[in-house]
């Protein structure tokens, strides 16, 4: 089981959810609005200066689901670098 944390521009929200749906990833946690900035690209601060906003998703997936998710997210990110999608993954276990 892997925990995947995806941060993406709100403007691709529907496409991210579409990917999760197609990959039968049913469980996830969504923060609709999150702010932040990366090492490159524009900050997403929801202010007048930096008006764009991000959303974040935390989802725990089976190991076999991971390659498909990675492939899809990468495709979306590379479609336009300005949009900026970041995903991080680490091991996860059931607590109970």
């Amino acid at each position: 089981m892997k925990a995947v944390f995806i941060i993406y521009n709100k403007a691709v929200s529907e496409q991210i959810l579409y990917i999760l749906d197609k990959l039968s990833i049913k469980a996830f946690t969504l923060w609709e609005t999150v702010y932040g900035q990366g090492n490159e690209g524009e900050p997403r601060m929801g202010t007048h200066t930096w008006p764009e906003e991000n959303s974040a998703i935390l989802t725990i997936v089976n190991n076999n689901q991971l390659p498909d998710l990675q492939k899809a997210l990468k495709f979306l990110d590379e479609a336009n670098k300005e949009v900026g999608i970041r995903a991080f993954v680490w091991d996860a276990e059931y607590l109970f």
Binding site: N9, K10, A11, V12, S13, E14, Q15, E42, H48, T49, W50, P51, E52, E53, F75, L76, A79, N80, E82, V83
Partner: protein, 1046 residues
């Protein structure tokens, strides 16, 4: 859920909401009344009181004064004016704008109840009219007839007037110059004396004979018979044979001592239509009803009536107010369509693709329709002010949609789907879009607070712009994203982006080059900031100095294919003499303007009936009223102004013409006038008349002062009878008896009526012509005293020939003589200033006040109102800006665009030679909003780039480069939207062309200068930005620095 998200997710609901707006808008459009101006009449009530036989001074002292005293105590009264002339007193009370006319009328009725008992007996009860005497009838018909001329009055009354009066909205229908059948019984005074019969006796006999009386009934076995006496005269002949008395075995009949003529009433008014006998039919509308609607109904009814009239009776419209209104509105509507076209072209030009262009343009109908809905809901009309507002709004309503759309497209090009882009793209800009709208509304809302005349004119203007802009913003953040999510193309997952089109290769490329050029220019001016600033200031100073070459008028004059003239001949001449001049004038019209004149009506004389007509038309035997209708502007080569000037030169060369007054408007009554009135207030009329004449002579020498008229005419000769009280008492007479007897002799009295076919005709008794036209004979007339003895008038009275003023005018209870001046070739305020100088040079007599007023006063008041308003608006803009940018200096940088907008207006007016009027001022006013908007875009984006870390210099250059297109687009849509307005030449265009010209001039100028001066001023004024502010805050964390690595 945010509004834009809801709109995108529920496209059908959104579509339905906006379609509903359009449907309601179209419905409103179909229901809207059409008028020339918004309703701007001040609530006015006219009190008309007649006292037959009294001269102007009597009327003034006995009627006008008591009424004025009481009425002047009423609430909300703005001004009270009066005209006391022979037989008639007209008191006009003008109330403050917004006063309820019905309540005011009730108040006046109450007041009159107190006054009436104080008035002399014989005064008719005052009539209250809910409109001003300066309000003109909406339709003039010329009525001509040959065979039926003598019976025309009956025909008109039965078949025309009654029908028209029934129409809703028609206040009254009047005829001027109707011949009236009257039976005159004219006595020879000598014969009367010989037979020892008095007038009164004859009257009583005639009354006693001319009688039908029910007697009662007789019942027989089966039936009941009504019995009635039939004594009424059947014809005029019967009157002749009425037996008066028996003397010396002889029957004395009326025909023995009098001549009986069944004829037309003596003409005191001469009315000529198209060089022939005729009369005028006037239709007045009720105050508050719509001119076009009422006129249409009247015309439709007239169409039905015409076939029922005898074939020789012709009724043709000579002047139709609604026609001018409709032509003007049609012309203006055309310019709106052109504006729509131009704006569409600009949008397509800049966006280069049809889908985005369509999305942006869709906002226009929605916003404009909301403006129409407002008009309908607020009971306003489609008029040149509201239509100009709509025309101006067209260019402004697309701006917000463009901003939103551009951001949506940015996201689509980055790979978002159109739905996501629509929602999140809007999310990023919607606050900024609303903020700019707030500024625009801050500029236009104060217009809605204006009161008085200017307020009436511009309130609806302010509302329409504000409402359409607000609705356009709402549409931009709901309808625009919805439509984008439906019809834009998504590029997601497509490797190749948008196709390179022809537009990209041509216009797109050119625009890119323009961007680069502008970028280089900014770098250049920023490096020469001080010299740029100096040049800009010099340009501003230069443009302000042009101001003294630009005249100022109140409202521009319009060519309405109409000339009215009031021509005064020598006081006291007979109406028959005046008629000769009338015929001469008719000939002149035919000879000089054969291709232009359509119809003309000309009248002279005073009605002796002291009725409404006397309040509205020519009111002296020496005054000619001329009304000429010309062909439509498109079908004639000369303007009415040129014809008017020509007519002036003709009138100048006619020795019998004392003075004349030519006006080009019949529709607007008082409001279209462009006169300067010099009012001389003094009780001593003789003294102020002398002064007025002196002053008028001096004013005539002022350049541009034409048609200098003194309101007071020269005194007219009058014979006054001074009774000798003692002699009279000895002879057993009193003043009332003498007065009544003399009045009956001269004016005659209506002893009875002749009934024929349900109509009644007056039977008037009076002395015969010989006496009535000979003063010497009149002096020797005899009056019967109480004992029945003859007394010669010359024994009990002195007859002296004196003169008296024909009219006495008051304003606010003070006697006033008015000198009116028509500026020509020079503007209103130039001439007015010279007049004021001239007055200062003269010695004003004691107890006399001289005030310069008229349109000049209105203009000054309006300009002052608008100037004050501009200050308020500027202050509001500053406040909103300061709050928005959290800075005191930013608003100053932004508002620097305003003075340059005015520079542009001055230069445009100077080049086109148009004078400053309320309308061009309004154009200038609108510029504040548009000019400010452009500089906001620039300053805001500079701030943004600096916040993102750019250096000041780079931020300014980059902001300029990237905001050039939106600024040009806003400016171009507005400029091109106004272009048809500025260039239109149709009827009525004189009114709105100045608005267009000032906006275009100002906007071109301010756009170019904003793009240069705003960055320069920013560079000079703003050294510290938010980054410096952040450093200041960070200095408070210095303790932390000790533990942090250096």
């Amino acid at each position: 859920m945010k509004i834009y998200e809801a709109a995108v997710k529920k496209p059908i609901t959104t579509l339905m909401v906006f379609i509903a707006v359009i449907v309601v808008g179209v419905y409103s459009l179909s229901q809207l009344a059409i008028d020339y101006f918004p309703e701007i009449e001040f609530p006015t009530i006219t009190i008309l009181t007649t006292y037959p036989g009294a001269n102007s001074e009597n009327i003034e002292q006995n009627i006008t004064k008591p009424i004025e005293e009481q009425v002047s105590a009423l609430n909300n009264l703005k001004k009270i004016t009066s005209r006391s002339s022979d037989n008639i007193s007209i008191v006009t009370a003008e109330f403050n704008y917004g006063t309820n006319l019905d309540e005011a009328a009730n108040d006046i009725r109450n007041v009159l109840d107190r006054v009436v008992p104080l008035l002399p007996s014989g005064v008719d009860r005052p009539t209250i009219l809910k409109f001003s005497t300066s309000q003109m009838p909406i339709l003039f018909y010329a009525v001509t007839a040959n065979k039926n001329y003598e019976g025309i009055s009956k025909i008109l009354e039965e078949k025309v007037i009654n029908q028209l009066n029934r129409i809703n909205g028609v206040a009254s229908v009047m005829t001027i110059g109707t011949p009236k059948r009257t039976i005159y019984v004219e006595f020879d005074p000598l014969a009367l004396n010989n037979y020892g019969i008095t007038f009164d006796q004859i009257a009583q006999i005639v009354k006693a004979e001319n009688l039908n009386l029910p007697i009662g009934s007789v019942k027989t076995n089966d039936l009941e018979y009504k019995i009635s006496l039939q004594g009424e005269f059947q014809s005029a002949d019967q009157i002749k044979n009425t037996v008066l008395t028996f003397q010396n075995g002889k029957t004395i009949r009326i025909k023995d001592i009098a001549t009986v003529t069944d004829t037309l009433k003596d003409r005191s008014i001469i009315e000529r239509i198209n060089s022939g006998k005729g009369l005028r039919l006037l239709v007045m509308k009720q105050s508050g009803s719509n001119t076009v609607k009422v006129a249409n109904k009247v015309k439709a009814e007239m169409e039905k009536i015409l076939p029922t009239l005898p074939s020789d009776v012709k009724i043709e419209p000579i002047f139709d107010t609604s026609r001018n209104i409709l032509t003007s509105i049609r012309n203006l509507s055309e310019t709106i369509l052109f504006a729509l076209l131009f704006v569409s072209i600009v949008v397509i030009f800049f966006l280069g693709r049809w889908r985005p262009s369509l999305i942006v343009l869709a906002v226009i109908p929605i916003s404009l329709m909301s403006g129409l809905v407002y008009l309908y809901a607020s009971n306003n009309s489609l008029n040149i002010i509201t239509l100009s507002a709509i025309s101006i709004a067209i260019g402004m309503v697309v701006d917000d949609a463009i901003v939103v759309l551009e951001n949506i497209i940015k996201h689509i090009e980055r790979g978002s789907t159109r739905r996501e882009a629509a929602i999140y793209g809007t999310n990023e800009v919607w606050v900024a879009v609303i903020a700019t709208t707030v500024v625009i509304v801050a500029v236009f809302m104060p217009l809605t607070l204006l009161t008085g005349f200017t307020g009436a004119l511009f309130n609806s203007f302010g509302w329409i712009i504000s409402i359409t802009i607000v609705v356009s913003t709402i549409a931009a953040i709901s309808f625009t994203p919805m439509l984008s999510s439906q019809i834009l193309k998504s590029y997601a997952y497509q490797k190749e982006k948008r196709k390179i089109t022809l537009w990209d290769k041509t216009i797109g490329k050119a625009l890119n080059q323009l961007d680069e050029f502008y970028k280089n220019s900014i770098s250049f001016v920023l490096r020469h900031k001080i010299s740029t600033l100096i040049v800009a200031i010099l340009i501003f100073v230069f443009s302000v100095s042009l101001m003294k070459f630009i005249g100022a008028d109140f409202l521009p004059q319009s060519d309405q294919s109409m000339i009215s003239a009031k021509i005064t001949l020598q006081t006291g001449i007979k109406v028959e003499k005046t008629e000769e001049t009338m015929k001469k004038l008719e000939q002149i019209l035919h000879e000089r303007y054969p291709n232009e004149v359509v119809a003309h009506a000309i009248s002279a004389g005073a009605s002796d009936e002291a009725s409404f007509i006397s309040a509205f038309s020519a009111n002296a035997s020496n005054v000619i009223q001329l009304m000429v209708r010309f062909k439509d502007l498109d079908h004639r080569s000369r303007s009415v102004f040129s014809i008017g000037n020509d007519l002036r030169s003709v009138l100048d060369s006619m020795p019998e013409v004392i003075k004349y007054d030519i006006t080009y408007q019949a529709a607007m009554g008082g409001m279209g006038s462009n006169n300067i009135d010099v009012k001389i207030f003094s009780f001593n009329l003789d003294q102020s008349m002398v002064y007025a004449k002196q002053l008028a002579e001096k004013i005539k020498n002022i350049e541009g002062a034409k048609e200098v008229l003194i309101s007071q005419e020269s005194d007219k000769p009058e014979i006054k009878i001074f009774l000798k009280q003692e002699k009279m008492a000895q002879m057993g007479l009193n003043s009332a008896m003498v007065g009544a007897a003399l009045r009956n002799y001269l004016t005659g009295f209506t002893a009875s009526k002749l009934k024929e076919e349900g109509k009644e005709y007056d039977i008037v008794f009076r002395l015969n012509n010989e006496i009535r036209h000979n003063i010497e004979l009149f002096k020797n007339i005899t009056i019967r005293n109480m004992q029945g003895n003859k007394v010669f008038l010359s024994d009990i009275a002195d007859l002296r020939e004196l003169s008296s003023p024909p009219v006495i005018e008051h304003e606010n209870k003070q006697r006033m003589i008015k000198i009116s001046v028509k500026p020509q070739g020079r503007s209103l305020n130039e001439v007015a200033t010279d007049i004021e100088k001239t007055i200062a040079q003269t010695t004003v007599p004691q107890h006399t006040d001289v005030v310069v007023g008229g349109a000049y006063q209105d203009q000054q008041e309006s300009f002052r109102d608008l100037a004050l308003l501009m200050l308020v608006a500027s202050l509001l803009v500053y406040l909103t800006m300061a709050a928005q940018f959290e800075s005191f200096t930013m608003p100053i940088i932004i508002m620097i665009a305003i003075p340059f907008a005015f520079s542009g207006v001055f230069i445009a007016l100077f080049i086109t030679g148009i004078s400053f009027s309320v309308n061009s001022l309004l154009g200038a006013f609108m510029l504040i909003g548009i000019a400010v908007k452009n500089s906001i875009i620039l300053v805001d984006f500079t701030n943004l780039l600096r916040d993102r870390g750019m250096k000041l210099f780079d931020a300014l250059v980059e902001a300029g480069r990237s905001r050039l297109r939106p600024i040009l687009m806003t400016a171009l849509t507005t400029i091109l939207g106004m272009l048809p307005l500025a260039l239109s030449t149709g009827e009525g265009s004189e009114q709105w062309a100045p608005i267009g010209i000032s906006v275009i001039g100002g906007l071109i100028f301010t756009t170019v200068l904003t793009l240069i001066i705003v960055p320069v001023l920013y560079y000079i004024l703003i050294r510290s930005g938010s980054r410096r502010l952040r450093k200041k805050f960070q200095s408070e964390f210095s303790l932390l620095d000790e533990v942090l690595p250096k």
